[in-house]
Symmetry: C2
Subunit: 194 residues, 2 copies
Amino acid sequence: MSGVQWRGRLLESVSKNNNYDKIPYMQLATVRGDGRPANRSVAFQGFHGGTTGVLFQTDSRSPKAAEISLSSWVEACMYLPDTQEQFRLHGQASLHGADTPNDLLRQERCRAWAGLPHEIREWFSGPPPSQIPKSPPEAFHHAVPGPKDSPADSFVLGLIDVMSVDYLDLQQGRRQLFTRPHPDERWSLTETCA
Amino acid sequence: MSGVQWRGRLLESVSKNNNYDKIPYMQLATVRGDGRPANRSVAFQGFHGGTTGVLFQTDSRSPKAAEISLSSWVEACMYLPDTQEQFRLHGQASLHGADTPNDLLRQERCRAWAGLPHEIREWFSGPPPSQIPKSPPEAFHHAVPGPKDSPADSFVLGLIDVMSVDYLDLQQGRRQLFTRPHPDERWSLTETCA
């Protein structure tokens, strides 16, 4: 019940804040191999089916993909400036490419790919992100899969199995903590100090 | 030279994006005691004097203050939706309250306090953040220091000694990495793949 509550509120907040940017971003924190934190914006791609699992897109060749394979714990922070709300989503992330055995995730990956603008789709067929180019960029100027084609191999969906949500409403001075100690357990809700 | 370059660009980008929210927020990632990441929005309070040290405000009683005292490495991510730019600031954070021996930091703390709206100043005199209230909220309803008074004891300035900046311009498809391996060394700049 409480899980449904934060899920619905997040979707409602995203829809209220979509006037300045069509893509809702959240910042995804991971832990690097050396134990230091890393943090970057990722595009929120909605929920996995009817669950409380949160989807985001990434490049399988990016440092964050390597970090998640080393340590799956992440915290995504979404701040919504128009309504002054914040959602902190803590959980474990997994990455899903073309070979995922989960039919629904495969469909969600194709749907996310189809929704990307051309210039973003182009990136996934280009050189690996965050690396110093070894070949001239022209070497990567080959055909970019279209929105209805199979996604580029490097395009993967991240799925956060959310274990706790720290919700803050700055306008109301209200904070709620939703927790689920184990995936099989029910969500519980605690009101805390803002 | 390169350090001055990213500092000027960040200030320019913040001023171009301040139409939807007067307070520019960034998301601050830390590592918890159990090795998992944490992530939340903090208000960007400008630079420490003429340096490349980045200031933010926090409550000395908050979990992030405890995390920083355990492990000082942080990464702040600032996404600016109007110009579609991202700054990832990686470095070590320190916290500075009323007893800081640094005169400039003491002045910056008072200036940051004076710029806070009343309802935020009220929080620093209220119960500790993120905790389940043990006393009724009325127990904390005492006088709130005004903008020209000494800041509440719990109001501390965080200072990030930035060691690297990963700058991404989504509109231009451009990425630049500014690094400074040691505080005494010069900044260097590398162009990488977006």
